[in-house]
Symmetry: C2
Subunit: 409 residues, 2 copies
Amino acid sequence: MTAPTPDLPNLVADDSMLSRKFGRETANYFSGSPLNRVSFLRSDHAFLASAFSHPTASFLPMNNLSPAVKDASSLGYVTKAEIEPLTGAEPFKQTEEEWVKSFSSDVISPVILFLGLDEKKTTGFEFKDFKGAPYFAIDVTPKDSLSEKANSVIEAVKAKGLDFSKSARMMSLTAPEAAIYAQARSLLDWNARNPFCAGCGGRTLSVNSGHKRRCPPTDLAGVPEGNPPKERGDCPTRHSVSNLCFPRTDPTIIVAVVSADGTKMLLGRNKRFPPDWYSTLAGFLEPGESIEEAVRREVWEESGVTAGRVVLHSSQPWPYPANLMIGAIAQATPDGETIDLGNDPELEDAKWFTMEEVRDALTTGVSDLGGPAPSTYKEGGLRLPPQTAIANRLIDSVCGGYLAAVSKI
Amino acid sequence: MTAPTPDLPNLVADDSMLSRKFGRETANYFSGSPLNRVSFLRSDHAFLASAFSHPTASFLPMNNLSPAVKDASSLGYVTKAEIEPLTGAEPFKQTEEEWVKSFSSDVISPVILFLGLDEKKTTGFEFKDFKGAPYFAIDVTPKDSLSEKANSVIEAVKAKGLDFSKSARMMSLTAPEAAIYAQARSLLDWNARNPFCAGCGGRTLSVNSGHKRRCPPTDLAGVPEGNPPKERGDCPTRHSVSNLCFPRTDPTIIVAVVSADGTKMLLGRNKRFPPDWYSTLAGFLEPGESIEEAVRREVWEESGVTAGRVVLHSSQPWPYPANLMIGAIAQATPDGETIDLGNDPELEDAKWFTMEEVRDALTTGVSDLGGPAPSTYKEGGLRLPPQTAIANRLIDSVCGGYLAAVSKI
């Protein structure tokens, strides 16, 4: 199935000096969330309890990271009554400190992720100065002692005519839904991958409505009722401010490289791509590296090409599992254009394409990675990633005049 | 002590189209490493063994994350002979697979971090097509069973007339040394914080010359010699490609906000700052968020101001512990300039300054955070961060004509 062209938001269609100078902002797929995360309220259980119980609250169940969906373009939300068998009626009744004090490593609770408030829906929920419809995501994966309760929620979801998406990668949601899904998927995945503390190996507790994990100092597991909890072993994360227990996001560079004279574009392909399919180069940024350095390193390691000036273009959250794609445009140095795949054998091929070939491919060769080429495609021609990928947006920017005197970003 | 103005590299003083259009690249402090990381060679123990033993190899000892230094501007390197009591003479004799097979959770080895090759020093070390002087960092923190050996290396470092830096934050190194230190500090810190697997709670093993940690499937601890190792419990990181065992880098946005009419700049201060000291706003990016969205969220949460168009400017690795500062310039929307500190109570104050005030402060009020104001400073005037901070570079860019028709980035 070919994904519909996403409804990319134009959040900043303004006439500011920055827009006049640099052009309109590129809003990439998975960005453009309609929700205000009000991140500072995530530890306020009075707020959370009130949002959780409000009749306008929406709950997105996710089973093994697959979201409930109505159809290919819409997420499927349920009500508090439908997730209550798993979460209980009042999961935020205790404060976070009380949770930590009553921590027991043998009790597993489902992660309840507060996503934010949709402020355009002023339907009655208010807390202090903040208004809007609350959104939550709930991990309903049947796991260990939660299996039975989770399965009952899964049945309720299906009984409602919803289903859990079969796609490992959701790329056909409308842009606002895609952004909500990206936040939910990244954070539930992070919670699922980090049940233990990397500092001491002990079990951790999901707090901050799913946005942090804490390593509690005591444990009630195996302690007879009424007795004080056991002290746990020392843990470095308890000594100082440490971001170990914060969700991780992996910055990844992705870059359209143009030749020194601006007439060609460097694209690469790996073995998994269909024949004739090429894309921009990409790779993880490393600690102690700037984005610009990571761009030059990755381009050289993967293609042998030496990049000079690097300009940052735009960014895209990529929830598989929690990458931040940082899009750049770089220009090769005049004597650094020779392709050499012998450094890091990651690419099957890398090649310089003329701007004309690339421009042509943007109109005739764009499709989803798994999908068929469009009807306009001529066998043997260049194929490119879809508009939902920042790779496409970078290529399009360069072809659309990024290098020209007047910017059309 | 005031740090000397760093010797910021101009790696890309070229005349490319991107430079002509967007101006020269801003190379921030902690970037501009002279080393080629040749990251694809990190698991090649033949390469590592050869580099480790080469007479031109330099070893940076770090004790509890403090590097050995010659003076405030230079790191202190030692030779293989001086670190051998801790590392052994041939630490890369076995392959990585053999390490994993002979893993024993009760044996602790020092982290030996391969940093890269200085290709400008073509002094005889060669491996395949790669030439240059090899650089390593070694964790010499006296810890557990390694204490005695580590202390003997520490004594040798001191006997050589070097010392371990007393500064918690090194900000006075020359730019190339700062970049080497940033890489070493971020990665040794990550190894030290992650001795256990967050997926299963078991001890992990440093591999890839300090750039990855693995959760081995078996353990020789407590197994009598000659017997096969014990199987360890199941771990999710062993099932699929997972970046759990890769070093983490936390993307952080930092932004100079200009008013809708371009005449004022928004700066904020927290309680730890000296009186009259202000800086740009900053905060961690969250999973499922683009950089542009994180900028708008943080600006609104911390100051109440609504940002419209966001332009990405440059980036800076920040090794405390492993942040990636992503510098942006944003413009407030015309009706979103009212300051409100009531959302997230993180800032003590936020204020609009005229460009004239800011421009004046760039010449009279810039100093290190802990240092005295310069002699040109007049009491009560605005004080700003030093040139080693990306905050200063962002402010300087805006004042230097970033908003004007012709870019002077």
